[in-house]
Amino acid sequence: MGNKPLFQTTRRQLLTAGGGALLIAASPLKALAAEADLLRARADLFGDRPIREGRVTVTLPPIAENGHSVPLTVSVDSPMTEDDYVKQIAILSPRNPLPLIAQFHLTPLSGKAEVSSRIRMSGTQAIQAVAEMNDGSLWSGSMETVVTLAACVVL
């Protein structure tokens, strides 16, 4: 009886498989996975509450020569009074090994919803900021920066 093995691999099949694997490696699937990390981090912080775009401005240099230390400023359009203020700003990355970069907690005493710091970036990406107001509403903004020397090895 010509009992053929169930999975017989020919040289031709092997070659096609190899080509397919190469295609997958080159596809933006990896980027999508990192994007999923960002969404998961966002869900961990804010659950499935709706996030509207606007009111949040992220400022980064258009080109960062060095991903080890990139100046970041985030500001939120808010009067910062006792009954209308920004409670929290979360800074998120779609490409770093950890999507959550920092959380800033503000109070009415803060007076102005503008915070600056220096962050690490492992490559060109759009940094996202999500602001939570004291009434629980969520707003977001983002900015893309080209990183010429990524902190991917160093981060």
Binding site: T73, M80, A102, T107, L109, S110, V115, S116, V154, L155
Partner: protein, 106 residues
């Protein structure tokens, strides 16, 4: 390690919003780097920064490994009363560094 530098205006008029800067010297080792022999360099980061005025919280921040070494943070405060600002940094092992600055509100 006492590498703390603060920038706080000495005086302010009541209701004015002032800018405050706080820097601490710290490697903020991310835990993603490898040494020359390929061994992972252990994470060592500051995880929390807090600033309060006479005991009332003005601003706080949670740091994660993507905050650059020697973390510098710039934020604002509405000058409501004179007093002492306390700045406090806590690292992952609960070690605390702090410093104070006074502000006179006229």
């Amino acid at each position: 390690m006492t590498g703390i530098r603060l920038s706080v205006p000495e005086t302010a008029t009541r209701g004015e919003v002032v800018e405050i800067k706080a820097l601490i010297r710290h490697p903020m080792e991310s835990g993603f780097r490898r040494g020359s022999r390929g061994e992972v360099i252990e994470r060592d980061i500051i995880t929390r920064f807090e600033c309060d005025l006479n005991g009332a919280l003005v601003f706080a921040s949670d740091f994660h490994p993507a905050i650059a070494a020697n973390p510098l943070i710039t934020f604002h405060m509405r000058a409501t009363e004179s007093g002492e600002l306390t700045f406090r940094w806590t690292d992952q092992n609960a070690e605390v560094w702090s410093d104070t600055a006074s502000i006179t509100v006229a």
